[in-house]
């Protein structure tokens, strides 16, 4: 038994790849928390903190898939559009076409995975950079969402649907927060304990070595795309439940918040290194920062500047760490 425990902790330690940067981010997170508790009015209330968690849940779910994508050495800029498309499609199917809600949800999830798997196929089949393929998706999916909705929100969903995005467990914990926690735990497990997860690291760390070791690079990449597409659609459905409409205008720029969270969480842009736990910290960091800046009444345009600078610093830390 002790042997197994030791092994697991070693694996986690090695995956962590850099205790220093991890603790660096933890320290930054604590400092941010203390600063906001001192200077941001109403920050340190359970109501506000739970709101922060709920606000980050939609990004957090997607960030799990994005972490795999970046560890594999790819990147996906289409997830915001994929969220809007999923939301619009759900509205059109469930409300305008009167599909049973369960069926509509299942269909939206499935098509999300398939469209992204298709993008992944194009990525590997023609060796196109993932950035370019997903840039095309970024435009096409947003356009398609507006096309089928005429850019108007589609309402109403049945009241019971609101539970997933707006409900509470035990009357205090927002449902999306619970969902996010489950997704993070699941993806943590996939990343450290499955053959697929290890393959993602291998493909991103050195694609040629992975291929010559008999790992299927194609399958690994396509599955990674499909998972991210699935999670984007999933997040889009919960978001629809939260706002109780199918909308083509949501999640604008979401991809960059998600990517930023993953990078701040210590995942290497060179591929091969990164952790789901780090991403969780990154998501929290961005969520707390945004919340605090709002509470402190900082000019929204200045908020964007600050977030940009923080991402820049995170990237610089990540790059210098890789070079050493």
């Amino acid at each position: 038994m002790t042997g197994a425990v030791q092994t697991k902790s070693t694996t986690i330690r090695s995956r962590t790849s850099d205790l220093l940067s991890r603790s660096g981010l933890l320290i930054a997170l604590v400092l941010l928390f203390v600063a906001l508790a001192l200077f941001a009015p109403n920050f340190l209330t359970s109501r506000n903190l739970l709101n922060v968690l709920r606000a980050v849940a939609f990004n957090g779910i997607i960030a799990c898939g994005m972490t795999f994508m970046i560890i594999a050495g790819d990147i996906d800029v289409s997830v915001g559009s994929a969220v809007a498309w999923a939301s619009s499609l759900l509205g059109v199917l469930a409300i305008q076409h009167h599909w049973p809600l369960v069926l509509a949800v299942a269909f939206v999830l499935l098509q999300g995975a398939l469209i992204h798997a298709g993008a992944g196929y194009i990525r590997v089949r023609w060796s196109v950079p993932a950035f370019v393929v997903t840039l095309a998706l970024f435009m096409a999916l947003r356009g398609a969402a507006r096309l089928i909705t005429n850019a108007f929100p589609i309402t109403p969903f049945p009241d019971s649907f609101n539970f997933w995005g707006g409900g509470y467990i035990l009357e205090v914990i927002p449902v999306p927060v619970v969902i996010m926690a489950v997704v993070f735990l699941l993806f943590h497990f996939i990343s450290v304990r499955t053959v697929y997860g290890r393959s993602v690291y291998a493909v991103g760390g050195n694609e040629e070595s992975a291929r010559l070791s008999g790992i299927s690079v194609w399958r690994t990449r396509i599955v990674t795309f499909a998972l991210l597409g699935f999670l984007s659609a999933f997040s889009g459905i919960i978001l629809s439940s939260r706002i109780m409409s199918g909308s083509s205008n949501i999640a604008v720029g979401l991809e960059f918040d998600v990517i930023a969270a993953v990078i701040i969480g210590g995942t290497s842009l060179m591929g091969g290194e990164g952790t789901i736990f780090g991403t969780f910290l990154g998501v929290l960091f961005i969520g707390l920062l945004s919340n605090g800046m709002v509470l402190m009444g900082i000019n929204p345009f200045a908020q964007e500047v600050i977030r940009g600078l923080i991402i820049l610093v995170a990237v610089l830390i990540s790059v210098t760490r890789t070079r050493n």
Partner: protein, 500 residues
């Protein structure tokens, strides 16, 4: 008459190795000097010192009698030394003329703005190519040139600096034989213009056609410089090998097993021609050939890394139609690739993960890894192969070359292969690690593994193999049993010129 180039008492030390030991090297104007030696004899160190890529630890260099200091490739240019390396450095998206003048494009000022002067580029480039008397379209993109044309453009680029000394590093190794004649003509012409030329080569047969004299290096020392008339292949081979090399004696103590791998009439356009071979359990089959002979290509084709045009690969009696690394692995084949960092390892992975990279299926059930099993396999390999590492959790990047190589081998042994193909397993590792790897190969063979062994070091192939195939220009040209051939004979077979 003073020598154009006079290097004297050059010394260069690397940790644990004396790369150059008191080397003198003198060249007269108009001389073409062939520079020969085995891998590690010091040829490339000498070339690197003259071209400014590394600094000598001791010694001096004179150009036209003047002592010079060469601290960088730029210094080397300024002193009139131009080097054409084996690796092509042309920019594919630029034209031939633009490449010849890369980074030094003449400009003309109009309205205060510098414009590239295309006419002047063409004029200078035409002049440089004209000196070679070859016909290449100056406006052609470099990406559309064949290897021979690229080589000539590289030479033209070197000439455009009007160097006193030109160093050509294995210029013929990548060329098809019909193009080699053009190269020789060009080199002779450059010498007639009064330049001194260093011509690094492995091909003994081309020496009389191109060189005036031959310098042979061995173990970092100059063994001798002889005029070309005396440079018979036998004499040169003898100079390259010396007499101090002792063959390791070992006894085969088991019968060979059944045929594990069979290749029939394998072809790959331009690279591999009609290759057939058979490999039995318990047998070490060595593949001896020069760089570019098709050694690596053959292993990669068998393993399904590169596609083949025709031929059959039969593993354990079953022909495989669609070889891929994962299919081959499933059939019990393994390949330790020639470049461990780029092709064998994920350097950012902990040692443990690299030791199970190819055997994830073995350490998992239904896609879920079993960390205990993983640890067990990794630990056993560290012990068996004597891999020196602080722990299984350190990044593989931090290990020495020899230990990294052992990790690559361990990774494949963990797949429990029946056939292991090893491409240059001893490249760039220390003597002790080399010897451990040889002992390991023999030991694995004793346990029934079939090994296909490739090395640039012909001694190593001879030492470790039960049987040796000579590969030359993509063809198997000879087959010899371990006790049928000595080093000089094998060297001669490997360097033999074949007429196609």
């Amino acid at each position: 008459m003073t020598a154009v180039l006079e290097a004297s008492h050059l010394h260069k030390y690397y940790p644990g190795v004396t790369a150059l030991d008191d080397v003198d090297f003198t060249l007269q104007a108009g001389d073409v000097r062939a520079l020969l030696g085995k891998n590690g004899a010091g040829k490339s160190t000498l070339v690197k010192i003259l071209s400014g890529a590394v600094l000598p630890d001791q010694g001096e260099i004179r150009i036209d009698g003047q002592e010079v200091t060469i601290k960088s490739p730029h210094d080397s240019f300024l002193q009139g030394i131009s080097t054409v390396y084996q690796e092509m450095s042309l920019v594919p998206g630029l034209t031939v003329a633009e490449n010849i003048l890369l980074g030094r494009w003449p400009t003309s000022k109009r309205l205060g703005v510098s414009f590239i002067d295309r006419k002047e580029i063409l004029r200078i480039a035409r002049e440089a190519l004209g000196q070679l008397e070859v016909d290449i379209d100056l406006n052609q993109l470099a990406s559309r040139l064949n290897v021979a044309q690229q080589q000539l453009v590289e030479i033209a680029k070197a000439i455009s600096f009007d160097p006193r000394v030109m160093i050509l590093d294995e210029p013929s190794s990548a060329l098809p034989s019909e193009e080699v004649d053009t190269l020789h003509r060009v080199v002779r012409r450059l010498a007639e213009q009064g330049r001194a030329i260093v011509y690094v080569t492995h091909r003994l047969q081309e020496i009389p056609k191109v060189a005036d004299s031959v310098t042979v290096l061995r173990d970092g020392k100059v063994i001798g410089t002889i005029p070309v008339a005396e440079a018979t292949p036998e004499r040169i081979t003898q100079m390259m090998i010396g007499s101090d090399w002792q063959r390791t004696q070992w006894q085969r103590d088991a019968e060979l097993g059944p045929v594990k791998l069979e290749v029939r009439n394998l072809n790959r356009a331009g690279l591999l021609h009609d290759i057939s071979l058979e490999l039995r359990g318990g047998e070490v089959l060595g593949l001896a050939g020069l760089l570019g002979s098709g050694r690596t290509e053959l292993l990669r084709s068998i393993f399904g890394v590169d596609p083949i045009d025709s031929g059959e690969i039969i593993v354990g009696g079953v022909a495989l139609n669609n070889p891929s690394p994962s299919a081959m692995k499933a059939r019990g084949l393994g390949l330790t690739p020639e470049d461990r960092k780029q092709q064998g390892l994920v350097l950012v992975f902990p040692v443990e993960d690299n030791l199970t990279l190819a055997s994830l299926r073995r350490v998992s059930a239904r896609g879920v890894l079993n960390p205990g099993k993983e640890r067990e396999l990794a630990e056993a390999m560290v012990e068996d192969l004597q891999i020196k590492t602080a722990s299984l959790a350190v990044k593989t990047r931090t290990l020495s070359g020899g230990n990294q190589q052992k990790v690559v081998i361990g990774n494949w042994l963990n797949t429990l292969p029946e056939v292991l193909m090893m491409d240059e397993p001893t490249r760039g590792i220390d003597i002790q690690a080399k010897e451990q790897i040889f002992a390991l190969v023999r030991d694995l063979a004793r346990q029934g593994l079939a090994v296909l062994f490739v090395s640039s070091e012909i001694e190593e192939v001879l030492d470790v193999s039960d049987r040796i195939l000579v590969i030359n220009q993509g063809r198997i040209t000879h087959s010899r049993q371990h006790d049928e051939v000595n080093l000089e004979q094998l060297m001669a077979l490997v360097m033999e010129e074949i007429n196609l």
